[in-house]
Structures are given as structure tokens and as C-alpha cells.
């Protein structure tokens, strides 16, 4: 590398006037902002992975191979209860964030417990639906439609399971270690994860279940 290039790169390093953190001479942003931003990028990549499963489902939904169609296997009541569970759990997760912002141990734990219970009810309903389908011989091997359906909805269910394990870990860590900075960063990422799961479920209940019931 010659001197001219070095000079050139040096010119680009000239700081801007702003003294706010993360800008110009203000130094790096706080760790919390950097952790949050990094996890935000992970969540967006996770959503892109889900969009591939959505695309596969959209293409394969008519390929029922003389098996049952979406309309015949979906139960609107069960989907409505699952949706209510996840939406309420997203709200109670927000309440836990408010309590954690106040370093209030009791309310944080209580709101997290309700969040976890709602998530658990959601998983039970989904497990009941899946086991019912498999018992009737309409498992993922029955048709391309059912393969795509089980992959998409099952992947979301796996995310909720992972979220529940994470939630339990956070409850234990907040209880044992208090609102330490590193614990707050983990907890903060967990709330982003849980809210993102609900956003993906909005797409699943609207575009998979309700559209499927209409076809």
C-alpha cells in the first residue's frame, strides 16, 4: 500500500462535528445499543429464513396429492385461542419490560411467569393439533402441502419452545443475580425475540390458517 492511499484513508477518518455517542467524536454507542442492534439484525435474518418457508408453503399449498386440503384440517377455534395466547403474552412481556426498567423484582417475575404460561398453553394447543393430524395419517409425509405446513408452523413452534427455555433462564438469572448490566442485556434481547415470534405468528394465522380456511 503506498503513501497516497494511506493519506486518502486518513482523510476519511476525520471525525464529524457531532459529540453524541455513536457519532463523530462522541465515541462508541453504549453496549446496550450495540447489543440491541446486533440482536435486531439476527431477528431480521430469522424473519428472512421464515419468509423462505412461507414461499415454499405458498407454492406447495395446492399440492395435496388427493390428501386433505387446508380447509378440511384447520380448526378456527383452536387457531383463535392460540392467537389470543401469543398476543396476550406479547403484552405481558411488555409489562415485564416496564417492571424491569424500574428494577422491580416482584412484578418482573410475575409478568414473566404469565408470559411463559401463555406461551406454554400455545405450545400445548399446537402439539394437540399436530398429534391429531399425525394420528389420522395426515402427517408431514402425506402430501407436499402437509410437508410445507408442518415445516413452517413447526419451525415457529420450535422458536416458541426455545423462547420458553430462554424465559425460564432469564427468570432464574434475574432472581439470582438481580438487574446487573449483563443480565439486562440478555433480558432485553429476550423481549425482542418474544415480540418477533408474535409478529411471525401474525403472518402464520393470517396467511396460512385464515386464507387456508377460505380456499
Amino acid at each position: 500500500m503506498n503513501a497516497a492511499v494511506l493519506d486518502h484513508s486518513h482523510a476519511h477518518g476525520t471525525p464529524r462535528a457531532s459529540t453524541a455517542p455513536g457519532h463523530g467524536t462522541g465515541g462508541p454507542a453504549s453496549k446496550r445499543i450495540i447489543v440491541g442492534y446486533g440482536f435486531w439484525i439476527f431477528l431480521i435474518s430469522d424473519i428472512i429464513m421464515f419468509s423462505a418457508f412461507f414461499a415454499a408453503y405458498a407454492v406447495l399449498a395446492p399440492a395435496t396429492a388427493d390428501g386433505p386440503s387446508a380447509r378440511q384440517i384447520f380448526d378456527p377455534t383452536s387457531v383463535a385461542v392460540e392467537t389470543a395466547c401469543l398476543l396476550l403474552s406479547s403484552f405481558t412481556c411488555g409489562m415485564a419490560s416496564v417492571a424491569a426498567g424500574q428494577r422491580n423484582q416482584k412484578w418482573t417475575q410475575l409478568a414473566l411467569l404469565v408470559t411463559g404460561l401463555l406461551g406454554f398453553v400455545f405450545l400445548l394447543l399446537e402439539a394437540r393439533e399436530f398429534s391429531g393430524l399425525v394420528a389420522r395419517g395426515d402427517g408431514p409425509t402425506r402430501s407436499a402441502f402437509l410437508s410445507a405446513f408442518f415445516t413452517l408452523v413447526g419451525c415457529h413452534g420450535l422458536h416458541v419452545t426455545a423462547g420458553l427455555l430462554w424465559l425460564g433462564t432469564m427468570m432464574a438469572q434475574i432472581y439470582a443475580k438481580g438487574f446487573r448490566r449483563d443480565i439486562q442485556h440478555r433480558y432485553f434481547c429476550f423481549t425482542l425475540f418474544w415480540h418477533a415470534l408474535d409478529i411471525i405468528w401474525v403472518a402464520i394465522f393470517g396467511l396460512v390458517y385464515l386464507v387456508g380456511l377460505n380456499l
Binding site: 457519532h23 406479547s90 401474525v202 385464515l210
Partner: protein
């Protein structure tokens, strides 16, 4: 105001905000709870509208999936604003740009796949014999 030892700002004046960041002052608690409540009410209303649109004969049949897509996108927007606190303010520029890029990729992936596969289906040779 005394600052707790573990205090670390999730936002700074003229700086950047972490996604999901909300005010942590005492006065901010009421506003934060109100924000989540507004989000919950709007999301519930849109969910109810989706279930209504799927079961009613009020909407022209082939238009129902389009109505459901519009309602789902609207509800995802509500979740982003009221639960994940993604806003249009300058301190959220980084978060919004990352999201916009993600939305672009999702759009290309889903519509590209559906478009290409529908085209290939249309060009399939009819079954022989």
C-alpha cells in the same frame, strides 16, 4: 436525580436508540404501559377483523385473501411500533434501515418464488398418453 450504579442509557440525545428501547423514568412508566395497552387494543381489533373477514360473506370471495394480507401487514406494523418501539425518529434510523433491507429481501424471496413457480407450472408439458 441519583443515578443507579447499573444505569446504562438505551438511548442518548442526538445519538441512537436500541430497538425496543423505552423511557425508564418514573414518569415514563405510565406512558410505557399506555403504549403497550394501545398496541394490545389495536392488535386485538385487527385480529378480530381478520377472523371476521375470513368468515363473512360480506366481502367478495376472491378478495378475502387480499383483505387478510392487508390486515396481517397492518398488524405487523402495529406490533413493530407499539411492542418493538420502532419509530421514524432520527435515533431509530439504523434500526429502520436494517428492517427496510429485511423487508426488501422478504419481498423478493416470496414474490420471486411465487412468480417463478407459477410460470414453471404454466409451462409444464401436459401429461402424455
Amino acid at each position: 436525580m441519583s443515578t443507579p450504579a447499573d444505569f446504562e442509557p438505551g438511548s442518548s440525545p442526538e445519538g441512537d436508540s436500541a430497538p425496543g428501547y423505552e423511557s425508564e423514568t418514573r414518569e415514563g412508566v405510565r406512558a410505557a404501559i399506555r403504549g403497550y395497552l394501545i398496541g394490545l387494543v389495536l392488535a386485538t381489533a385487527l385480529t378480530a377483523a381478520s377472523f371476521w373477514a375470513a368468515s363473512t360473506h360480506f366481502i367478495y370471495g376472491p378478495g378475502v385473501p387480499i383483505a387478510l394480507v392487508v390486515l396481517a401487514v397492518a398488524q405487523m406494523g402495529i406490533h413493530l411500533v407499539f411492542f418493538l418501539h420502532i419509530t421514524t425518529s432520527p435515533d431509530n434510523t439504523n434500526n429502520v434501515l436494517a428492517l427496510a433491507f429485511g423487508v426488501l429481501i422478504v419481498f423478493v424471496l416470496v414474490f420471486g418464488t411465487v412468480w417463478a413457480m407459477a410460470n414453471m407450472n404454466a409451462n409444464m408439458m401436459p401429461p402424455m398418453g
